[in-house]
Amino acid sequence: MAVFLQSLISGILIGGVYALIGIGLTLIFGVMRVINFAHGDILMVGMYLTYMIFTLLGIDPFVSVLITFPLMFLFGGFLQKVFINRVLDALAQNQILLTIGLGLIMSNTVMLIFTSDYKILSTSYSSATIKVGGGVSVSTPLLISFLITAAITAALYWFLLKTDTGQAIRATAQDRDAAQLMGINVKRMSIIAFGLGSALAGTAGALISPTYYIFPQVGSVFTLKAFVITVLGGMGSVVGATLGGVLIGITESMSAAYISSGWKDVVVFVLFLLVLLFKPSGLMGKSRT
């Protein structure tokens, strides 16, 4: 029973962070219909940013989210304005090539600056735990990052549902042409959406860095994960990505406990295939045909 609870708790906690990565990707896809292959690399940039802020300025990784979030927003907005906006009407494969290229430039630039050494960010609480009882314990940094994730997700829902800009973003996602006809500046919405997506990915990077390790190629691990989460939840659905993230977290954790760590990816992908087989548009996705 302790094993079950332990796996469930750590699955949900890590799933929360996955969800944050997935939401960023799904937001970008929803608004622009661009599949962002640089998503993991943006997350990696967020990790290094956190690392620099921590080592140079001594600011705690969780506090530095306040700096990372706006910086990554600007970075994402810049990418959108300078690069992505130019290929919005291009063929899908051209867009993919562009984002892959951007990702490669990011990871290799970081490698030039920081070398490929693994960086470990050790805070005073990196190995701290809270004992829940019954032999179950919760990692303190993971719990904090889950709470921050939940707060950010809630704020994002509020932003998308209640504010004018949020509604404009959703309108753009629903029908770009109609939104434009209604007087919405869709280019600006795209910049905001990509900025938000990047900020979320960067924040996820910041939140994982106290418990994970940092290296220039770390992005690829998370790009793949973000795709699975997004497609599983339904492309473009924020609720779907949240659900997908937590689901993947729990599945990984449970299969590692009850089958084998080596098989957990297999279980995740089998689940993924099954969902696609029976509900091709994803859990929360609406069919677009």
């Binding site: 693994y118 954790s253 449970m254 590692a256 406990a257 080596g262």
Partner: protein
């Protein structure tokens, strides 16, 4: 650029007696294994300097395999056929070394592998393949012997990376514990780079093993120990085989790394000739502590270069001389012998060490010990 300069240098030196020994190096200089590859590069650079002082000029041809076997293989083909090197030192990882070994045999190029652990590499009867470091089975047997001599462990759990290095090390460990009457209660492999091992560790904890045997590279070692502490995994000893558990980064994480037992091929406090001096000079030159990889690479390059020079740059003679030779240096006594199904394998003495107060201290074998071992593993704070 460097290669071009070297090639230019070689053409300028026309007199054959002044000809430098042309030796190839295959190493993981970029890619995920680069942090360890860097040690090998530095070790070889130091060897190059020392050889120069002895009057042996080297012309090194550097090849970067980025940690991928297929790139390693094409590097070997190039070194063997186009560069016409006398011998090759490298590559780093087990997967690359195993791939390259067969090519060395095909092209009759003496290959001296400095630090790859997989046993199979020198167990295929390849006449041109030599290995400096002790293979994976030694990691396992020396660690388990150490634990058995310190306490009375009855059960053991394995957790290892699902790569060549991880699976081969733990497989030999499993075979070895069977002969010692220790029961395997958990046997888990994991894909490298996972963020969360807690559920796996909780599963292991529920089996309450006396020993936990881990095989991981650098970053995962820290995560595994952190999360072991989180879930409260409390065996009599944590045994960390190789790579990740023998780095300065790992030792620095004192909250989780203290009292972990690991083994290594080399430390700078061992009384092998020149070991201390090598450690000091390495630190002065590169600003970092050398790992055993650096020492293995240094010794390998010295042996390869001296042998190549004595054999007049002839591949066949170099191979025969490597096989017949005997050396004593920073790696202790080196001899490429045939035993237990191995060929051309240096039967190297492993050192068992424990992290005590943030420092690696050799605890076994007794004649090299700097501190007494702490056993059983103290309760997590």
């Amino acid at each position: 650029m460097r290669k071009h300069l070297l090639a230019l240098g070689a053409t300028l030196v026309l007199t054959p007696c002044l000809m430098a020994q042309k030796i190839g190096v295959i190493n993981s200089m970029s890619g995920p294994e680069a942090p360890i590859g860097e040690n090998i590069t530095n070790g070889i650079k130091l060897a190059e300097e020392d050889l120069k002082k002895k009057g042996i000029n080297l012309q090194l041809v550097w090849e970067d395999d980025t940690g991928k076997p297929q790139i390693s293989m094409s590097a070997m083909e190039k070194l063997a056929t186009r560069e016409n090197v006398v011998g090759v030192v490298g590559p780093y990882t087990s997967a690359c070394s195993n791939a390259v070994a067969k090519l060395a045999e095909k092209y009759h190029v003496p290959l001296l592998i400095p630090a790859a652990a997989k046993e199979e590499i020198t167990r295929q009867g390849l006449a041109h393949v030599f290995r400096m470091n002790a293979p994976a089975d030694k990691y396992a047997s020396s660690l388990i012997d150490a634990a058995a001599s310190l306490g009375k462990p009855k059960t053991i759990a394995f957790i290892y990376e699902n790569t060549d290095f991880g699976t081969s090390t733990s497989k030999t460990a499993k075979d070895y514990v069977a002969t010692k009457g220790i029961q395997v209660v958990a046997d888990v492999s994991y894909p490298k780079g996972s963020a969360d091992y807690r559920s796996t560790l909780a599963q292991i904890k529920s089996k309450n093993p006396d020993l936990v045997f881990m095989v991981s590279y650098v970053a995962d070692a820290i995560l595994l120990m952190r999360q072991s502490r989180e879930v409260g995994l409390q065996p009599q000893a944590f045994l960390g085989a190789g790579a990740g558990f023998t780095t300065v980064e790992f030792a620095k994480e004192r909250a989780i790394s203290d009292n972990v037992i690991s083994c290594t091929q080399w430390t700078d406090d061992v009384n092998w000739p020149g070991a201390k001096d090598f450690g000091a000079r390495y630190k002065a030159k590169f600003g970092k502590e050398p790992t055993y990889h650096a020492a293995c690479a240094y010794a390998s390059m010295i042996i390869m270069a001296e042998t190549a020079k004595a054999s007049g740059g002839d591949r066949t003679k170099t191979r025969t001389a490597l096989k017949a030779g005997k050396w004593n240096g920073i790696m202790g006594e080196v001899k490429f012998a045939d035993y237990d199904g191995f060929t051309n394998q240096n039967n190297h003495q492993m050192l068992v060490q424990q992290i005590i107060a943030g420092k690696y201290e050799t605890v076994l074998p007794a004649q090299f010990a700097t501190k007494k071992a702490i056993y059983p593993f103290p309760k997590w704070k």
